[in-house]
Amino acid sequence: MAFLWAIIILAGLGFIFGIVLSICAVIFAVKEDERIGEVAKLLPNYNCGSCGYAGCAQMAEAVVKGQEKKLSKCKPGKPDANFNKIIEYLDKHPNEDGTKIKVEI
């Protein structure tokens, strides 16, 4: 019976925390450019910091806001696996005023 208790307690706690977190995520939601998340997904996501930013999400934010032009600052990133995909993505998703974000490898 002990293992049943273990399952019930862990699943119950996980369920409660999950509900609380998802409610908070809705209440305290911050509007963010959705391209930042997509670019962050295309980066290697090692969060190594060798680009000079705190993590991959911060690098992606700088790229989308046009502050960072050189993708090769990301040291573990590969041209085929990461950089070209990001360039392609940004090419397909221009800014609201129609201008495109220009980045190079």
């Binding site: 002990a2 208790w5 273990a6 307690i9 862990l10 706690l13 996980g14 925390f17 609380v20 977190l21 908070c24 995520a25 305290f28 939601a29 911050v30 969060n47 910091g49 930013y53 705190a54 993590g55 911060q58």
Partner: protein
């Protein structure tokens, strides 16, 4: 006054001893990662410290009753403690992250990857685990949590102020950056040994 002797004095002593004498960073060597990573600017060090205080105090308050539940004879699962603590801490860190992102985007930016890394800050798990391992009661574990986390806040803030001064001072080239920071941390740890025996 029995209340003062049996409750207030041990409570205050526990806070002071876990804050200064058994300092979490400098004498137990927990939480070195944020201590070195987020101490370049006093502003972000303060933010990190406050976030850690929040997580440690809340995690201790939530984990203590959960442990009592796990240790009940009918349940009898005390070995599940670490797993449950990690679950609680991870959820709390997510919550803190959501709050900070909403109310202080600049702090969110300067904490960066170190904010989710509070989850793996061993100071948090260490405090919660040692509370229940020592069999402390609720008040004492809260004293331990407050003392330890305020000790962390205090030390990371002092350290960041020292690092700002180090930045502008003329350090030998080989020691620049993290090397001199580690030497500084070691000297701080030596200084804190001087407080041993203060609480009797």
């Amino acid at each position: 006054m029995p209340f003062i002797d049996t409750f207030l004095v041990p409570f205050a002593l526990a806070i002071i001893s876990s804050m200064l004498i058994d300092n979490v960073v400098l004498s137990r060597f927990y939480g070195i990662c944020p201590f070195l990573g987020v101490s370049k600017k006093p502003q972000s060090a303060l933010g990190m410290g406050v976030a850690v205080v929040f997580v440690i105090v809340l995690a201790s308050a939530i984990c203590w009753p959960i442990y009592q539940l796990l240790a009940l004879p009918e349940v009898n699962l005390p070995y599940m403690d670490t797993v449950v603590y990690i679950l609680v801490i991870a959820s709390l860190v997510q919550l803190v992250g959501i709050f900070i992102k909403k109310y202080s985007p600049s702090l969110y930016k300067s904490l960066g990857i170190y904010l989710p890394l509070i989850t793996t800050n061993c100071a948090v798990l260490g405090v919660v685990q040692s509370n229940t391992d020592q069999g402390l009661n609720f008040a004492m574990s809260m004293a331990n949590a407050v003392g330890t986390s305020v000790g962390f806040l205090f030390v990371i803030f002092v350290f960041s102020c020292i690092r700002v001064r180090l930045e502008s001072s003329d350090t030998p080239k080989a020691f620049k950056g993290v090397a001199i920071a580690l030497v500084t941390a070691a000297i701080m740890a030596l200084a804190f040994i001087g407080l041993t025996g203060m609480a009797g």
